[in-house]
């Protein structure tokens, strides 16, 4: 059930929050042995909150569309009294004494947390194959990764265990699992959703956002999470006539799986058929922006994890080698990367005078298999991590909003993701065009067999 379906059913008294939560917990119990999407399930507190939500609705107290709806938090969002591991051995016993701002906001909106989802260790990677908590699996093919680092959130939402889960995105960690799991993920403008109380990875690159099964649900969740909510939810039959969609003529379509390229082109044609105007654009040097993003992240991650660097045995091998790299980058290189970042942001922002949004593929390939470190892209063999972040990382450097949403499926049944980029603080534009496309493509809310 989506957020909007649950909200309608609750208000029509066709279902109670207790029943929604019971159903969610039942599904988690059945699916988690196969998916490993949850690290912690908060069964007792969820039922208590659901009873309170029902009592409030009965008294006419309504906190909005999320009132009484089961959700989950990525397990680096601090939750008062509930263990928050960040998928790491270091934080395996950490029980926060307060909620992250975003958790408090979702509480205030009446959402009911049923658990904490698994992730790549410390959110520092894209597989969610976690050395301490096991591999999270993709419900479309459980031999494949869900992506990461918000892999548990992607897996849980795709399998309909919850209607919505929080994610964090430092170099693609909301959008990559959305692409691989066929969910909708919104990485908002930098700091439009508070990072306070979310265990940091790269302070100037971290973004917090919702993962859902439909674009309109993402809008509802974003409204509840944002520091300055716009209260915007796209209408039925959203009108995108005359909207200017940028189609990059360089970089983004250069090295892609053929089925991914085809599905994204179909989305572009669909938007054009709905009345949008397709405008060819040339984007600035994205590889250069990615280099800046790598330097900034390598250093900021070390800064965040400084007190634990002596506990080498407590880190997984892939995270440890990234931390070692970060420790060797100089302060001058970090500062210069942040200076070049200012130049790159200014350069990229010129595009917004010509277009309202830009369409790109989300990931160059569908979900790789668990354990694969390389993947075939056309005729070349590429590193899974670098390939999966290639179209993502620069967007964190730029701080602009990005919506990831399904735009098709491969012949073997794996989801393919579209990325829609927008000008700063124009999440409403992305959600409008995303909703129109979702309606036209008819892919929203599709579920994997067996879940």
């Amino acid at each position: 059930m989506t957020i909007l379906e649950a909200a309608a059913a609750l208000r029509a008294k066709k279902v109670s929050s207790v029943e929604l939560v019971d159903e969610s917990l039942k599904k988690i119990a059945a699916a988690n042995p196969r998916l490993n999407a949850f690290i912690t399930v908060t069964e007792e507190s969820a039922r208590t909150r659901a009873r309170a939500a029902d009592a409030e609705l009965a008294k006419g107290v309504d906190h909005g569309l999320l009132h009484g709806v089961p959700i989950a938090h990525k397990d680096l969002v601090m939750t008062r009294g509930v263990r928050t591991t960040a998928g790491s051995k270091i934080f395996s016993d950490f029980v926060p004494d307060q909620d992250a701002v975003v958790a408090a906001k979702l509480n205030d909106a009446g959402a009911v947390m049923v658990g904490k989802t698994g992730l790549h260790e410390l959110a520092y990677g894209i597989t969610s194959t976690n050395p301490h908590f096991g591999a999270v699996r993709n419900p479309w093919d459980t031999d494949r990764i869900p992506g990461g680092s918000s892999g548990g959130s992607g897996s849980a939402v795709a399998a309909d265990l919850v209607a919505m889960a929080t994610g964090s995105d430092t170099g693609g960690s909301i959008r990559i699992p959305s692409s691989f799991c066929g969910t909708v993920g919104l990485k908002p403008t930098y700091e439009r959703v508070s990072r306070r109380g979310v265990i940091p990875l790269g302070m100037t690159l971290d973004h917090i956002g919702p993962m859902t099964r439909t674009v309109r649900d993402a809008a509802v969740a974003f409204n509840a999470m944002a520091e300055t909510p716009g209260g915007f939810v796209p209408q039925e039959n959203a009108d995108i006539r005359g909207m200017r969609i940028g189609l990059p003529q360089n970089y983004y379509f250069d090295k892609l799986d053929l089925e991914v390229a085809g599905a994204v082109r179909t989305a572009v044609q669909t938007a054009a058929a709905l009345g949008a105007r397709i405008v060819d654009v040339r984007v600035p040097d994205i590889d250069a922006i990615n280099v800046v993003g790598r330097i900034v992240l390598l250093v900021e991650a070390v800064s965040n994890l400084g007190p634990y660097l002596g506990r080498r045995g407590d880190f997984g091998a892939d995270v440890l080698t990234l931390l070692d790299q970060g420790r060797l980058i100089s302060g001058r290189d970090y500062a210069d990367a942040q200076r070049l970042r200012r130049v790159q942001i200014r350069e990229f922002s010129k595009l917004w005078s010509d277009v309202d949004c830009i369409f790109t593929p989300c990931t160059p390939t569908p979900a790789p298999k668990i354990g694969e470190t390389t993947i075939q892209v056309g005729s070349t063999t590429e590193d899974v991590r670098l390939t999966s972040t290639r179209l993502m990382r620069a967007i964190n450097v730029l701080g602009i909003p990005s919506l990831a949403m399904p735009c098709g499926f491969t012949q073997s049944g794996l989801p393919i993701g579209l990325q829609i980029l927008g000008a700063p603080r124009r999440e409403d534009t992305l959600l409008t065009i995303g909703a129109a496309l979702e309606d036209a493509l008819g892919l929203g809310g599709r579920r994997p067999a067996g879940f």
Partner: protein, 55 residues
Amino acid sequence: MTDWKKMASALDPGIPDADAEKVVPVLNALEAVWRPLQASIPAGTDLWTGPEDIA
């Protein structure tokens, strides 16, 4: 090119030789693309300082 292994041995806590060996090719490749970009930064460019810098 930077002598990454020498730097690694000077850190406290140190990076074991075998682990330092693993990061050398990655950092060499990163440095090779980074140095020309670094040289291209216009003089007087200030640091990026936060959301107010997002146009």
